[in-house]
C-alpha cells in the first residue's frame, strides 16, 4: 500500500497530470472573470451556477483550495521524484565506467590508418582534446582504446531545475504567509505612520512615519505622463532618518518594507472657481472636490467630479457632473482651463468656464513586506545553470579502438552513444571524419 503510493507519487504520469491540472486551473482563472461580486456571477450563470462558483472558490481561482492543492500535488511530485531518482543519478555521474562498458558502444565509423609519417597515437592525442575531449588511454590485448566521456554533469540538470522550482514555490508560500501589502496615499507635506492593508483589509501601524515632501509629474508633448516621482522622508521618533526619491520602476527600501510609486491623483488646491453663464446672466461658483453645489435660480446641481493636470495634451481640466432640476442621470463633461484650442461641448443649459484652478497631487505608494522574495530569486538563479545543464550539455561516450595491422597500418574503429541529441552526435562524427581525412 505504501509502496504503491510512493510509486504513484514519483511517477511521470503524476507529473504530467499535475502539470495538466495546474494548467487547466490557470486557464479557468483567465477566462472566468475573477473577484467579482456575487451578483455578477448570478447574472451570468444563474443562482445555482453562482453558488457553485462560490462553493468551489472559482471566483478567486488562484487562492482556491482546489487550485492550491494542484500546486501542492506538483510540489509533492517534484520532491518525491527528486528523492527517488537523485541518488541513482548522482551515483551514475560519479561512477567511472570501465573499459567493458565502452566496448559495447555501437560502432559509427571505421577507418584504415595509412600515414607512415605519423602514428595514430600521436594524431589522436593531438586532435582529440580539441574534437571530443581529453581521452583516457587504455591498452588491452594489443588494442589501444581512447575513452572519452562528455557532459556527465548534464544529468543533474533536471534535478537542479526541480530543486529551483521547489525553492520558488516555498519562497512564494513564505511571502504569502509571512508578508503583507498595503497602500499609502499622501498629499505633499503630509506624513503618516498608518498603512492601509489590501488583503485582508485593515490598518497597520508602522514604527516609523513617512512624509511626502514633494511630488512631481512630467508629461510628454502628447500629454501622456513621462515620469512621476515622490520625494520622501522617513522619520523615527519625529526625527528624519532617511530621504529618498521614489520613481516608477525604482523602489525604495526602508527597514524591511519596500515602497513603490504606484499611482497619483490630481487634486484641487482650495476651491475651484467657475464662471457659469445662463443666457445673459453670469455668476460665479466656488466648488470643492466631490461637493454638491446647488446652482442659483433652481438650475440644478453641479459637482466637481475630477481634476486632471493634463488631459490629452490640452492642459489642466475639471470634470463636472451636472444634474438638472427634477433629478435624472447626472451628466459628466470636461471643462478645459485653457480655452485657446476650443472647449468640448457642454450639456445642459449652462456653460462653464474655469476662473481659478490651482492643482496639487496626492501620491499613491504601494508598500510591501515579502520575506519570501529572496528565496524566489534564489530559485530563479539556480534555474539558469539547471536549464543549461539539462538542455544544452549533451551526454556522450566515445571509444576509439586502434588495432595495429602491421607495416605501420592501423585499423581505427570509432564508437559512440549520446542520449537525446542524435544530431549533436552526428555533427561530432562528421567533424572527426573531416579531421581524419585532412
Amino acid at each position: 500500500m505504501w509502496l504503491s503510493l510512493w510509486q504513484g507519487l514519483t511517477s511521470v504520469r503524476l507529473a504530467l497530470l499535475s502539470l495538466l491540472l495546474v494548467g487547466l486551473g490557470s486557464i479557468l482563472g483567465t477566462l472566468l472573470p475573477q473577484r467579482q461580486a456575487l451578483e455578477f456571477y448570478q447574472e451570468r450563470f444563474g443562482t445555482v451556477g453562482a453558488a457553485l462558483i462560490g462553493r468551489l472558490g472559482l471566483d478567486d481561482v488562484y487562492r482556491s483550495p482546489i487550485f492550491l492543492s494542484f500546486i501542492a500535488l506538483l510540489l509533492l511530485n517534484l520532491i518525491a521524484c527528486s528523492l527517488k531518482r537523485l541518488p541513482e543519478v548522482w551515483r551514475q555521474v560519479q561512477s567511472q565506467p570501465g573499459l567493458e562498458a565502452y566496448k559495447t558502444l555501437p560502432p559509427r565509423l571505421q577507418l584504415t590508418w595509412n600515414r607512415p609519417e605519423q602514428s595514430p597515437q600521436q594524431f589522436l592525442m593531438g586532435a582529440l582534446p580539441r574534437l571530443l575531449g581529453r581521452p583516457k588511454v587504455v591498452e588491452d590485448n594489443g588494442t589501444t582504446w581512447y575513452l572519452i566521456r562528455r557532459g556527465r554533469w548534464g544529468r543533474l540538470g533536471p534535478y537542479i531545475i526541480h530543486l529551483s522550482i521547489i525553492i520558488v514555490i516555498i519562497g512564494a508560500i513564505i511571502g504569502n504567509l509571512g508578508g503583507f501589502q498595503g497602500q499609502i496615499n499622501l498629499m505633499p507635506g503630509e506624513a503618516t505612520d498608518v498603512l492601509r492593508l489590501t488583503d485582508p483589509p485593515g490598518d497597520k501601524k508602522l514604527d516609523f512615519s513617512i512624509r511626502l515632501d514633494n511630488f512631481q509629474v512630467s508629461y510628454y508633448p502628447n500629454g501622456t505622463p513621462q515620469e512621476f516621482r515622490s520625494d520622501l522622508t522617513f522619520l523615527q521618533g519625529g526625527q528624519p532618518v532617511k530621504t529618498a526619491i521614489l520613481r516608477v520602476n525604482d523602489p525604495v527600501t526602508f527597514g524591511h518594507l519596500t515602497f513603490y510609486q504606484s499611482t497619483y491623483q490630481a487634486m484641487p488646491q482650495g476651491p475651484v472657481v467657475l464662471e457659469a453663464t445662463l443666457g445673459e446672466k453670469t455668476f460665479m461658483v466656488e466648488a470643492s472636490l466631490r461637493q454638491r453645489l446647488p446652482l442659483p435660480d433652481d438650475q440644478g446641481m453641479i459637482m466637481v467630479w475630477k481634476v486632471e493636470s493634463n488631459i490629452m495634451g490640452l492642459g489642466p481640466a475639471v470634470q463636472l457632473a451636472y444634474r438638472p432640476t427634477g433629478g435624472g442621470h447626472p451628466l459628466l463633461f470636461w471643462v478645459l482651463a485653457d480655452t485657446s484650442r476650443g472647449q468640448p461641448p457642454q450639456p445642459g443649459p449652462l456653460t462653464f468656464r474655469i476662473k481659478e484652478l490651482a492643482l496639487t497631487y496626492s501620491s499613491g505608494l504601494l508598500v510591501k513586506y515579502d520575506p519570501g522574495v529572496g528565496w524566489v530569486y534564489l530559485g530563479f538563479l539556480l534555474m539558469l545553470p539547471g536549464f543549461w545543464l539539462a538542455l544544452f550539455v549533451p551526454r556522450q561516450r566515445w571509444a576509439i579502438a586502434v588495432v595495429p595491422q602491421g607495416k605501420g597500418k592501423y585499423r581505427l574503429t570509432i564508437a559512440g552513444v549520446g542520449d537525446r541529441h542524435k544530431i549533436v552526435l552526428q555533427r561530432r562524427l562528421e567533424k572527426l571524419q573531416a579531421a581524419f581525412e585532412e
Partner: protein, 280 residues
C-alpha cells in the same frame, strides 16, 4: 523611413520563400542558394530598419528600443523567426522548411504593416521605462520564434508521415529531402531552445514586475498564459525524455504548445484585460 525599408524586407522574404518552394517542389536544389541570399538579405535590411527606428525615436527625444507596442512587437517577432531559424538550424533551412520559415516571417511582417496597427513611435509610459524591457521582450519573442519553428517542423512531420505504404513513404521522404526522424529531432530541439528562452522571459518579467509593480507574480492574464504555455512544453519535454514519446504525439503537442503561444500573444492582448494591455 524605417517602415519603407520593411517593404523591401517583405519582398525579399516572399521571394526567398517562393524560391525555396520551387527548389523543393521541382527538385531544383541549386535554387536553395539564391533563396537563402534573399532571406538573409531581407534579414539584414530588417535589422537595419530596427536600428533605424531606434535612432529615429532618439531624434524625437523619446528614445527607446523599438519593442514597445503591438506593431513593434510584430516587426520584432518576424525578425526573431529568421534569427532563431538560421542561427540554430542553418543546415535545415532549405526546401519546405526554409520556405515555411520565410513565409511565416513574411506573413507576420505583412500583418504588422497592413493590419491597421498604430505604427507611430510613441513615448514610453513610466512603467515600461526600464532596462528589463529589452531583455524581457527579446527573450520572449525569440522563444515564440523557436516555438513557431517547432510548429512548422511538426506540420511538415504530419505531411511527411501521413499514412501510405512503406515504399511510398520512403519515396516521399527522398523527394522531400527530409526524413520523419530528422523532423522529430528538429521539433524537440527547437522546443528546447524555445523553452529555455521562455523560462528566461518569464523570469526576467517576474524580476521586472517586482521592481515596477511590487509583485513578481500577479496572475495577470499574460503571465498566466505564458505559464500555461510553459506547462505545455514542460509536459512535452517530460513526455519525451521520461516516457519516450516520439513522432506524432510529440508533433501534436508541439502544435498545441504553439496554439498556447498564439493565445498568449494575440488572444490575451485582444480578449483579456490586464496589466499588459498597453500592447494594443
Amino acid at each position: 523611413m524605417s517602415a519603407k525599408l520593411l517593404g523591401w524586407v517583405l519582398l525579399l522574404y516572399f521571394s526567398g520563400s517562393l524560391l525555396y518552394l520551387v527548389a523543393a517542389v521541382f527538385q531544383q536544389r541549386p535554387l536553395n542558394l539564391p533563396a537563402r541570399w534573399a532571406v538573409l538579405g531581407g534579414w539584414g535590411l530588417h535589422t537595419l530598419s530596427l536600428i533605424w527606428r531606434w535612432v529615429e525615436s532618439h531624434q524625437l527625444n523619446i528614445g527607446h528600443a523599438p519593442l514597445a507596442n503591438f506593431y513593434e512587437s510584430l516587426v520584432f517577432f518576424s525578425w526573431a523567426v529568421i534569427c532563431v531559424a538560421y542561427l540554430s538550424f542553418w543546415r535545415q533551412m532549405r526546401d519546405y522548411l526554409g520556405s515555411f520559415v520565410a513565409i511565416l516571417a513574411c506573413l507576420i511582417l505583412a500583418y504588422a504593416s497592413f493590419g491597421g496597427h498604430a505604427s507611430d513611435i510613441m513615448p514610453l509610459m513610466p512603467a515600461l521605462k526600464s532596462n528589463w524591457l529589452i531583455i524581457h521582450v527579446i527573450t520572449c519573442f525569440l522563444a515564440y520564434a523557436a516555438f513557431a519553428l517547432g510548429f512548422g517542423a511538426a506540420l511538415l512531420y504530419f505531411f511527411v508521415s501521413r499514412p501510405a505504404t512503406v515504399k511510398k513513404q520512403r519515396e516521399r521522404q527522398a523527394q522531400l529531402l527530409v526524413t520523419a526522424q530528422d523532423l522529430d529531432d528538429l521539433i524537440y530541439r527547437a522546443i528546447m531552445i524555445g523553452f529555455f528562452l521562455l523560462t528566461l522571459g518569464i523570469l526576467t518579467g517576474a524580476v521586472w514586475a517586482e521592481s515596477a509593480w511590487g509583485r513578481y507574480w500577479s496572475w495577470d492574464p499574460k503571465e498566466t498564459w505564458s505559464l500555461i504555455t510553459w506547462l505545455v512544453y514542460a509536459g512535452l519535454l517530460h513526455a519525451r525524455f521520461a516516457r519516450g514519446w516520439q513522432g506524432k504525439r510529440i508533433a501534436l503537442l508541439a502544435v498545441v504548445g504553439f496554439a498556447a503561444v498564439l493565445f498568449t500573444y494575440f488572444g490575451v492582448s485582444f480578449l483579456l484585460p490586464g496589466l499588459h494591455a498597453y500592447l494594443t
